[in-house]
Symmetry: C2
Subunit: 257 residues, 2 copies
């Protein structure tokens, strides 16, 4: 039987989702918890690999658990797994899914949120989950720039260079369907949604948009950045700890059994 | 010269605001930071004393700094103090105020927010700042009950017993001007505002309202609880870590010089 898990984690103490040589991955903790309950549970396959320090509220993964081992009502699975997970990782939901459902290949889109605390001093309650930007920001310019990132583009200028080196053959064309910024007092929330994201692309968007807000780039520079298809043309990469993988989107067919 | 400080803190690692025998108070850290810059800075007087584990975004305090010692522009004071504070405490703002301004006695009101994560599993990003309630809640009943707490009442039935024992002579009558509940997915935000609050009164409100949502009390029971003026008549006290002192309200006159 195959199960779809929705997983949330505070990425502060992890070297990202994936099992890494450089540190503990969230994946490893989830697999350990599964194996404590189901001796033959196999590898967990996730929709995405988040970087060191990046958080998730709606990471999705699938896992195979042999029929013979699965004795509990599926609604109890989150509780059972959470009993074996540290408090910075939680399984929020579990459901049976089609036997060929794949968390990564079936994903139709993803939504990330990025939090900026725009004030002279950090909000200590958000210190692990928001980027402190103390300069005043021109929100109108940032929103105008954000609109230019919408649509289908080659996003090489905003992505980490890993894409260029290791995956040179892979297309850098993605479709961004939402890129907006809300302000509530000093808190800015960036909501970025698309059919897929290059390595560090969200953080490249946010870093560049904040620089637009600081007057280092004009909204029109975004058009030239896109056209250049060169990471050196884009703006800075925002720090990891402000980013949350908010949800992964699937078509109706792919998750139902 | 007297200064008004706006202070935010993550209360997780503190025994509340006040210097305590049982553990470190936030106040002590703020006074230590002041004394590193101004040898003769005196005691910091706060608007409120938060309990162990309770957070603040807008705690207000006043402090006296001798004219002869204060050489910096006042806008630099938060930066200077934050350099000597741990990252879970931040001075968000500082301003000169009238020499007879008193953070506690001049406060016209306070706003608290309380966060409940209403889901089968905790959101790990909110684990130190929200109360996990996994049962389904009847939000309509909770809102009807919340409206009955509005207005001028004797709130003995919702306050910690400290008020009854140590401060028996003090009136338990307060005026609550706002008590509402917003839902955004599994996150409930209680906003409670009033001219003053008894010991543990906000947490008594939230604990009781959650019990209304669970069907343990009806909205109408709130009326009888108020009438009884007995802590045993009210509902449970919600845990400290979901509560944030959001802001302290002052009349215009009291803070301007």
């Amino acid at each position: 039987m195959r199960f779809k898990l929705t997983i949330a984690y505070d990425g502060t103490n992890y070297a990202g989702w994936q099992v890494q040589k450089t540190g503990l991955g969230v994946q490893q903790r989830v697999e350990e918890a599964l194996q404590k309950i189901f001796a033959d549970a196999r590898q967990v396959h996730s929709s995405s690999r988040t970087d060191t320090g990046v958080h998730a509220l709606g990471m999705v993964a699938h896992v195979e658990i042999p029929d013979s081992e699965f004795k509990m009502p599926v609604a109890k699975l989150p509780l059972a797994l959470n009993a074996h997970l540290p408090e910075d990782i939680r399984v929020l939901a579990a459901a049976r899914c089609r036997s060929d459902f794949h968390a990564r290949f079936d994903a139709a889109g993803k939504q990330y949120r990025y939090f900026v605390w725009n004030h002279c001093a950090m909000n200590p309650l958000l210190r692990h989950q928001a980027w402190l930007v103390h300069q005043p920001l021109n929100l109108g310019a940032m929103r105008a720039a954000a609109r230019l990132l919408l649509g289908k583009h080659d996003f090489t200028s905003f992505a980490g260079t890993r894409n260029c080196k290791l995956y040179k053959m892979e297309s850098a064309v993605r479709t961004v369907t939402r890129c907006d910024i809300r302000r509530a007092g000093p808190l800015l929330t960036f909501t970025i949604e698309g059919d897929g994201f290059l390595y560090k692309m969200c953080r490249g968007f946010v870093g560049t948009l904040v620089q637009v807000g600081q007057g280092k780039f004009s909204p029109n520079d975004i058009k030239q950045m896109l056209a250049r298809k060169d990471r050196r043309a884009g703006g800075m990469t925002a720090p990891a700890h402000g980013l949350v993988l908010w949800k992964v989107l699937y078509g109706r067919r792919s998750t139902s059994r």
